[in-house]
Amino acid sequence: MPLPPDRLLRAYRQMKTIREFEERLHVEIQTGEIPGFTHLYSGQEAVAVGVCEHLGDADWIASTHRGHGHCIAKGCDVTGMMLEIYGRRDGLCKGKGGSMHIADMSKGMLGANAIVGGGPPIAVGAAIACKARRDGKVAVAFGGDGSCNQGTVFEAMNLAVVLKAPAIFVFEDNGYSEHTGADYAVGSRDIAGRARGFGMPAETCDGSDFFAVHAAMARALELARNGGGPSTIEAKTTRFFGHFEGDPMLYRAKDEVARHRETMDCLRIFRARVTTEGLLDDAALDAVDAEVMGLIDRSVAAARSAAPPTAADLLTDVYVSY
């Protein structure tokens, strides 16, 4: 059953928002105004949106160091995020978190995480809460190909299987963990196979194809919501930028990114499919593009002019009470 046009358009808008958010950050970072280091999600949008399109605010996701896409797909406020990345007082985390620690419980976003492998156990905990409350909600753990070598991830997978927790593990294999290829570091290069080794269903899909991810997630979700326990989705994808901003990418063939932008761009692939199949027309998509550019412009302008945190902010929020 194809998605109705309004949901398709929303999915496109989210993917486009992520893309422009990231492409714009890539530019703004050159100005030196953005503190710290930033990991851009550009190229992987179809995974975040294909998965989160199914979820409501009361479902949960746990994200990674490369978290902007997951945040936007899960509904976090784009301007609040931009302010946070700039380290502003009115940022989503009051400037205390930054790019790698954006979270919003009201949107079911359990946090980006600067510790590779930090998120999956947390997502399983949220799934346990859903199960205990019998609220029919699920929790999704995002992770990269590199994260699938971290022991915490396997502990989380096994625990979810044992408890039949409504948890879904989404691995985005973008080919690299930092400067090292997945074909080197992922022993089997078969993340789905690992998941099956733990006793859960797992499938591999094309992470540049929104519809492929969306369909895989539909199956995982049905299982989880019907008490069938966890499952895994391995999405093959690519990142259009370096590991972090400033990475010279010596480990990638010179033309690799250009080639991937040509052949693995989820926005192009989406547009081609929906227009060919007559589900949406170019005009509607162009309108979204314009709308998104405006949103990003406004959020950058807001972030630039926003006030920084003050000395008083340093000592608050460590404890609820102490």
Partner: protein, 336 residues
């Protein structure tokens, strides 16, 4: 009043709070036990020290969760469940296992609230068995309070008796911040008078166990009873002390220590852990910075030596601070 062991006092606190608050769940290895076994008997363990006994039959498998041996997943899951609105009590069988889940303790639980700009809370309790004295060897006997006391965002509780343990546990579960709750293995069977029903002991309020005039003694956990023994012996010679049990190490009630020092001018700190960067050193440093002028003599820290915990009975006996060593140290100090 009814006498309860520390084991049973904590068990009672868990029963009370699980009955009162449906958000409380308990998870860990063998917290009930018997899952998948061949006897058909669940609740076959109730925790290896029996502290969670009887919870499963009463509250069911959704709220009393046996886990695989996966400490990172256990604490991580507690964290996630807490972010999602539950109040998990996770059991780490031995405090020494903090190593295999330390990231979830100090990088995740401790930092969520701050990193997320105060917009969330992570109300977990990590219960764990601590301390030497049972010849369990170097990896099952450590006193690791300092490791978590050092971490901003965590609260740390070390009860010295059954009464406190019950009241502090109820406070811990109701507290909105992550709490690490150390239960000394040697104290589990120790009994004292414990009221029925609900009572709480606030965090950050030390207990003045004894009042005296010559010296201020701060003792942690099991060391409180050792200090009492030493003071009993010293009483014959007319030496008396303020004996302070901090009960919570973070927050720490340093004010009570400073006030006592105004009268005594002499400080002995007794801590079962090794000396470097310990809670003993932490308290000594606070005093040397904030109550220096009250001090009439060097601060005395009585700790284990800077070694792992040895196995042999004779060696472990030498390792743990003894009432005799405490007595000798106090005697020497009051003469200075």
């Amino acid at each position: 009043m009814r006498q309860l062991s520390m084991r049973d006092a904590i068990n009672e606190a868990l029963h009370l709070e699980m009955a009162r608050d449906p958000r409380v769940i308990v998870l860990g290895e063998d917290v009930s036990g018997g899952a998948g076994g061949t006897s058909g008997q669940r609740d076959a363990a109730g925790g290896v020290f029996g502290v969670t006994k009887g919870l499963l039959p009463k509250f069911g498998e959704d709220r009393v969760i046996d886990t695989p041996i996966s400490e990172s997943a256990i604490i991580g899951a507690a964290n996630g469940a807490a972010l999602a609105g539950m109040r998990p009590v996770a059991e780490l069988m031995f405090a020494d296992f903090l190593g295999v889940c330390f990231d979830q303790v100090f990088n995740q639980a401790a930092k969520f609230r701050y990193m997320f700009g105060g917009k969330t809370a992570c109300p977990i309790v990590i219960r764990t068995a601590t301390g030497a004295g049972m010849n369990m060897g170097a990896q099952h006997s450590q006193s690791m309070y300092a490791l978590v006391t050092a971490v901003p965002g965590l609260k740390v509780v070390v009860p010295s008796n059954a009464y406190d343990a019950k009241g502090l546990m109820l406070t811990a579960i109701r507290d909105d911040d992550p709490v690490v709750f150390f239960e000394h293995k040697a104290l589990y069977p120790r009994k004292c008078a414990v009221p029925e029903g609900d009572y709480t002991i606030p965090f950050g309020e030390a207990a003045l166990v004894r009042e005296g005039e010559h010296v201020t003694v701060v003792a942690i956990g099991r060391m409180v009873s050792f200090a009492e023994k030493a003071l009993d012996a010293l009483a014959a010679d007319g030496i008396t002390a303020d004996l302070i049990d901090p009960r919570t190490l973070s927050p720490l009630d340093d004010e009570t220590i400073y006030e006592s020092l105004e009268n005594t001018g002499r400080l002995v700190i007794i801590d079962e852990s090794p000396p470097r960067c310990s809670v003993a050193s932490d308290i000594a440093a606070l005093v040397a910075s904030n109550a220096f002028h009250a001090l009439k003599a060097p601060i005395v820290q009585i700790t284990s030596p800077h070694t792992p915990v040895p196995f042999a009975r004779e060696l472990e006996r030498l390792y743990v601070p003894s009432p005799q060593a405490i007595e000798t140290a106090i005697r020497r100090l009051v003469k200075q």
